[in-house]
Symmetry: C2
Subunit: 176 residues, 2 copies
DNA sequence: GCGCCCATGTAACTAGTTACATGATTCA
DNA sequence: TGAATCATGTAACTAGTTACATGGGCGC
């Protein structure tokens, strides 16, 4: 899974940064996982480690993808993505909230809306970053824009959902 | 987490059915998990087990929620839902697909669109079921509708995204 | 008689997370 | 001098999944 993160040679630390910056909207990795996987990749010959001494900085272990790693990645890209079992705690709680006062639910929805607005703002920032990036090819840029749109569309849909739900809950609150 | 599934007393088997039918859009449970949790709930006094002999059927172990369990549930409902780390394999693969021919990507998107259409059809079926259900209170019904809308809005947003992306990929395909 | 649905569970395993441990450099 | 950032890793634990094991009843 991490073999694909070898866009360019990177260290475990770099990889984490990269994940947080570019793919955090739809994927998440933590240090522990990255370092263990990196070690495995090295053992399996899918990536190779090189220890580099950067000036006035601690040692870095930079990993590069090998030919074998590239083959594995292509293989992975060709098999269809499998959907992960859904786990939306917010919705789950909502489902069981028949005995919770409407007012509390309204509070929850307002909070959710705020965090959605924030997420939308962040993704708009990111989109600007894509346009300005000159290193990436046209197709790559297009794919980035597409992935970013996915998050945006979802978030917009959720905002709409929040607004409509808030309206419903307001009427409920008055009748309670 | 399963204490809340005690809408009415149910066995492990019933719970699984219930999950699949009503909350599968946003939550997923498997038998192994259910039975282990059920046992724990019993041990902690949050639910009690009763073995029931139904006519001409194997023994059933029906669990009911206790007062302590209800308190725990209320407590849980009152703390804010925590977002689970996102894992969208489809988008992740897309992100790394710069070297995959546009034609293959188009195929993937068509498949995704089909499954989305199916999901929308299913949720529309479910919505009919809600309206017809006479046992549930008005507020409960409203909450069900709201949760169901959430899925619908998301799916619709995704369909829109698929369509727009397909158009983009078509032009890319012709230039490749 | 065969396959499907009802019904319950355990054991082994895999994946993922948290917490810990360490230490250098840079900047306020 | 202390906080933040760079940098790498391990150990212990928790959660979740797969696979296995079992057996009766019902409908075709």
């Amino acid at each position: 899974l991490l073999g694909l993160l070898t866009f360019c040679p990177m260290s475990g630390y770099d990889l984490k940064k990269f994940c947080d910056k570019f793919i955090s909207q739809f994927w998440h990795e933590n240090y522990a996982h990255i370092y263990t996987v990196l070690k495995e990749l090295d053992k399996e010959g899918l990536a190779i480690k090189k220890t580099v001494q950067t000036d006035s900085r601690p040692l870095k272990s930079v990993y590069s993808i090998t030919a074998k790693g590239k083959a594995e990645l292509t293989e992975w890209l060709h098999q269809p993505a499998q959907a992960s079992p859904p786990r939306y705690e917010f919705i789950l709680k909502l489902f069981f909230s028949a005995d919770v006062p409407a007012e509390d639910l309204i509070e929850n929805f307002k909070r959710l809306k705020n965090s959605l607005d924030q997420a939308i703002a962040v993704s708009e920032e990111n989109e600007k970053g894509i346009v300005e990036d000159n290193e990436a090819g046209e197709k790559q840029k297009m794919l980035w824009r597409i992935t970013s749109d996915c998050g945006k569309y979802n978030n917009q849909a959720m905002v709409r959902w929040c607004n409509e739900t808030l309206a419903k809950l307001e009427t409920l609150k008055h009748s309670e």
